[in-house]
């Protein structure tokens, strides 16, 4: 009886429609409720500040500016009399930015990040150009994993290339929030006064992330 079989299938279809009718809607009522986007999603570009000192992490190395495919980043860093660069101005034009995240990848100092904030539309075109202060202010409460090398100390000290101990690795793994400021990549021959840790900061950035929606 082909007809009965067809009828059964039609009823099954109705059942599936009815089942979906009973489910809860997945829509988010936007202005009332907001979606916390996954931590690695790429939203507004911000500049990150040091957690202790509150100063910008940026060293004006210009890597992000060069990495930017749309030239949305402008950095002005004149050299002083000691030929050291000082960050004077840092602008991001958010209307040009394509939110690719290449600047974040290029940065060696955890200074720039595409935060998870996504509400930065404005009524004026001029307001999409963010200067250094605004970038810093918006980036204040943005959580990030500090992967900076220890800042170069003036006085040169003897490098102590100690092999990474097992305990140190364990410690670093069990404490994801531990400040990574003291860590040091072993292959970098820098002036250090602390025992070097293996370069797991990069992994951690990927690992301890997010159980965000979706």
């Amino acid at each position: 009886m082909g007809v009965l079989k067809d009828l059964k299938e039609l009823m099954r279809g109705l059942g599936i429609a009815g089942k979906h009718l009973g489910r809860h809607a997945v829509t988010i009522q936007y202005p009332e409720e907001r979606w916390t986007v996954p931590e690695r999603s790429r939203g507004v570009v911000v500049l990150l500040s040091d957690k202790e000192t509150g100063e910008l992490n940026c060293t004006a190395c210009m890597l992000c500016m060069r990495a930017c495919p749309t030239a949305a980043i402008f950095i002005d860093a004149p050299r002083d009399e000691n030929k050291r660069k000082h960050l004077k101005e840092f602008r991001v034009e958010h209307s040009i930015c394509c939110y690719c995240g290449l600047c974040e990848e290029a940065c060696n100092f955890s200074a720039i990040k595409l935060a998870t904030k996504y509400e930065f539309s404005t009524f004026k075109k001029e307001d999409t150009l963010w200067d250094m202060n605004k970038l810093q202010e918006v980036g204040r409460d943005v959580p990030y994993v500090d992967t900076r090398k220890k800042k170069p100390v003036k006085k040169p000290v003897e490098p102590k290339p100690t092999p990474p101990s097992v305990e140190a690795t364990k410690d670093a793994k069990t404490q994801p929030d531990a400040p990574a400021i003291d860590k040091e990549k072993p292959d970098t021959k820098n002036d250090v006064d602390s025992p070097a840790a293996p370069p797991e900061a990069e992994e951690k950035r990927d690992n301890d992330k997010n159980e965000g929606k979706g």
Partner: protein, 353 residues
């Protein structure tokens, strides 16, 4: 003056009649104004029902797709349709220059009127019927056909190939599906022995096993044939080729805007309610039920049928034109007539209860 149609909507009519008498009307005016008031009451009720159905359709559609549907106006958007109506009223009535003026103008009006006219004989509850015509169901079948004419007029008057195609398809479809629908209705009439809607409901009095849908074996078959054909009559998915969006933009109402479009839209939803009301009256025992008042039973059953039509929309894909015709002529009509013959034979042999 004796009323030329015997009014049966007794409680409401008597109340209205006495009210007008108190105000000071008398003679033939009293009767005429009472009729007009009664018509207005039914009209208003159906308008509210149509507005509710539009909202409900959107909610059901949304929730089947795991959306919310309208949420902004009031609690879960309950007066969204009202706001849409206001918007449509304020909109510009765009008219095509090359239109056929008279046809273009009258099409939505005929559609609107044809949608309301069947409610003259539909019993909303015990005694709640405008006029108990002794040819009730025949009357409904006759007047609902005006809908086809209006769609054809809309298609022709628009001077638009999509609209014309939609109207033509609609005509072909409705004419085809009229046949199985009438055959399935005849199955009921064979047993009720009357064309009057009130008589048909009275035959099904008692508990639910007296309803025609539970008269085995022909009841369920007739009901299914009726629902299928009625879905096609109301131009709803999966038989909505007259307004197949992917093929015909919007079908016969492409060129309509503003309140004329709203009239088509409301007419469509009232047709849906008519389908539910007829299904309730013929197959689901009309107003009969326990505990609850009769009009409430009528509305509950009707809205359940309408809900079924809404679920159809989100379950079944649209048929191709040739499949649609093939389904009507090669499957539904033979089934409906075989069912009719079976029912007639059982009636003759008295193999029924």
């Amino acid at each position: 003056m004796t009323p030329f149609i015997l009014l049966e909507l007794q409680p409401v009519f008597v109340w209205l009649y006495n009210l007008l008498k108190k105000i000071g009307l008398s003679g033939s005016w009293l009767t005429i104004v009472s009729y007009a008031g009664l018509s207005l009451i039914v009209f208003g009720l159906l308008s509210v029902v149509a507005l509710f159905l539009v909202w409900w359709e959107r909610k059901v559609s949304g929730h089947v797709q795991q959306r919310y549907g309208p949420m902004r106006n009031g609690w879960h958007g309950w007066y969204q349709t009202l706001m849409d109506g206001v918007k449509l009223l304020l909109k510009e009535d765009v008219k095509v220059v090359t239109r056929d003026k008279a046809v273009f103008f009258w099409a939505p009006i005929i559609a609107f009127v044809a949608a309301f006219v069947p409610y003259v004989v539909i019993p909303f509850g015990k005694g709640l019927i405008v006029a108990d015509l002794n040819i009730g169901i025949l009357y409904i079948l006759a007047v609902t056909t005006f809908m086809v004419i209006s769609l054809l007029m809309a298609g022709w008057g628009s001077h638009n190939k999509y609209a014309l195609l939609g109207g033509m398809r609609s005509a072909a479809q409705v004419v085809s599906y009229e046949v199985p629908m009438v055959a399935s209705i005849l199955t009921v009439i064979v047993f009720s022995g009357s064309l009057s809607m009130v008589d048909i409901v009275n035959v099904q009095s008692g508990l639910f096993f007296n309803w025609f849908i539970f008269r085995l074996p022909f009841g369920p078959i007739a009901f299914m044939v009726y629902i299928t054909a009625a879905t096609a009559e109301a131009n709803r998915t999966p038989f909505d080729i007259p307004e197949a969006e992917q093929e015909l933009v919007a079908g016969y109402n492409v060129e309509y805007s503003g309140m004329k479009f709203a009239m088509f839209f409301l007419a469509e939803f009232i047709n849906m309610f008519t389908v539910g009301a007829i299904a309730t009256t013929l197959f689901l025992g009309g107003w009969h039920g326990v505990i609850l008042p009769s009009w409430l039973w009528f509305f509950v059953k009707t809205l359940l049928v309408v809900f079924l039509l809404m679920l159809f929309r989100w379950t079944y894909p649209r048929l191709r034109v040739d499949q649609l015709m093939g389904f009507a002529w090669k499957f539904l009509i033979p089934v409906a007539f075989a069912n009719l013959v079976l029912a007639g034979w059982m009636k003759y042999a008295r193999w029924y209860w």
